[in-house]
Symmetry: C2
Subunit: 329 residues, 2 copies
């Protein structure tokens, strides 16, 4: 894979997060699913924003966080996703580029505004997300630069993005071009509700197109409903080359045709779980594209996840290359 310009190209929702602390009563009063991601429309986004506490705005988005993490490790990454030509769009574009990620999709000049995600962090460090997708759910197949995806070792897409027909077409185009050019295709299930909405599509995707699948325990059990996690491990084996299953403080499990690797989580004080899965994927894919073994991939994933949950917000606060230096000695 050494002739490739990029390590990871990510496709995802381009979102600006507004993050604040809240108590459990507030989350309950607003009927927000604790720990989940709920889609909301613009009027509710305004109502909830008005009611929540003073916030900090930082760029987010699941796959965007992942490619930002890859760049922070020193990897070469790019992003494909959609913002409007508004102030939040400018913030998103600035932040992802300032992380060292190439991002050249032109901003939309009409239609809904840039996406925002209202994140409530409760005292138990759990994050509950309410997302107004705005223009981010609309990725035009024409915005998938064929030369870009063909020049990446891995093309990675978040499950959240799988919804609108034109966007699905864009994702399939990216996956096909990557595959044709000898790259790997990677997909994250993102959320249990995503899996519920698109189970047939996701099962077919994993079977036919995905080389490296990311899922947490809840998501993989939702994709292969049965008798719990260990059953799901057996179900996913052989449906894709590598399944990477994360289990929060219980660490992660990497499943291939002939191996099941179990890697402990990196201990840390948890402040805010936002971005944990995204940064795990960043560490894993960075190590993978450097040709490191799967145990090391999982260890770098755990280390990156530990960094991002030790502070508020979904992007790393220190250069992850420092963490790689510590883990790889």
């Amino acid at each position: 894979m050494s002739d490739k310009t990029y390590d990871v190209v990510g496709l995802g929702s381009a979102i600006v997060d507004a993050i604040t602390h809240a108590d459990d009563a507030f989350v309950q009063e607003w009927g927000i699913e604790k720990g989940g991601m709920t889609l909301i429309d613009e009027p509710r986004a305004h109502l909830l924003y008005d009611a929540m506490g003073p916030a900090s705005e930082t760029s987010g988005g699941s796959a965007a966080n992942t490619v930002a993490g890859v760049a922070s490790f020193g990897g070469r990454s790019a992003f494909i996703g959609t913002v409007r030509d508004d102030q939040l769009g400018e913030i998103f574009r600035h932040d992802i580029r300032a992380c060292g990620v190439d991002y050249d999709v032109p901003a939309g000049t009409e239609g809904p505004s840039t996406a925002r995600c209202l994140i409530l962090v409760t005292p138990d460090a759990q994050r509950s997300m309410s997302t107004y997708l705005g223009i981010s759910s609309l990725v035009d197949p024409a915005d998938v630069d064929e030369a870009l995806v063909a020049s990446s070792k891995v093309v990675y897409c978040e499950g959240y993005l799988w919804d609108m027909p034109q966007t699905i077409e864009a994702i399939e185009k990216a996956f096909d071009r990557a595959r044709e050019a000898g790259g790997k295709v990677s997909f994250a299930l993102s959320d249990g509700h995503c899996v519920d909405r698109h189970r047939e599509d996701f099962l077919r995707l994993v079977d036919e197109r995905v080389d490296i699948l990311f899922a947490n325990e809840h998501e993989i059990c939702s994709l292969y409903p049965g008798d719990g996690f260990e059953d799901a491990v057996e179900d996913v084996r052989n449906h894709c080359e590598i399944a990477v299953l994360t289990r929060s403080e219980q660490g992660s499990v990497v499943v291939t045709a002939d191996e099941t690797l179990r890697i402990p989580a990196e201990p840390t004080e948890v402040v805010d779980t936002t971005g944990a899965g995204d940064l795990y994927a960043a560490g894993f894919l960075y190590a993978y594209t450097q040709g490191l073994d799967l145990t090391t991939c999982a260890r770098l994933g755990s280390a990156a996840a530990a960094e991002v949950i030790s502070h508020l917000g979904a992007r790393p606060e220190i250069a992850l290359s420092e963490i790689a230096g510590r883990v790889l000695v």
Copy 2:
């Protein structure tokens, strides 16, 4: 003063901060005055923003930070200042209201966009600010609600706002109405360059209109140039009822006609000095409007400043009422 609805009404620039870490070389390369506030135009704001690192956006503005701090102590406060009807304006309005500050000035529907301040925090915890003022420098005298300022114990204005003729008219209107209604007038010199630009105006203001003046060592020495700080202390005495002079880690000095009180700074680990003066003023004015003695006013000011410099950003991260509880025992 007990018949007043508000403790403090603040007039100031309505600004959203974009804050990031930077090294000294970057600050120097961009010709930014370290530790200062430099006004920039919109093209330079875009250039600098493009060049700086990934940022967090949080609401700021000097007097806005102060009234947010007063509310955090449990005081009743309101804000007068101007945003546009854009996304940054919505962020500013949300955050100040979510702090418990009343803010009802309608957003501008034309003209420049909401102000932004690009803040670079260097490893020595010093902040260097580059501000694109946008619409924030334009406060219409009609936006100064006469009933509001008349119903406040203190009307407080930042020196930064003193620039455009219509805005100066708005400030003078607010000061006059407050005074007529038996309230106190408070003013912060804000910045050495502000003093340089408006020395004659500021000298006359302090002499004729201001009851409580806030300044740091550099600013008061700039207003009364002479033989250093102790000379400036004698110069300002008798020009206003109370002069509150802050000296960073050397604490603060409260000067009245017949007293000079010296209060030590509250020791803390300094992460980012953004908002130190603003929050000092918040603590001082909160205590003052509760009828507490001047030493206690200064101690609450120091405690609030210590909280805000212990983390990134210009607004308190914990309820300052908790701090008041500790200081006032």
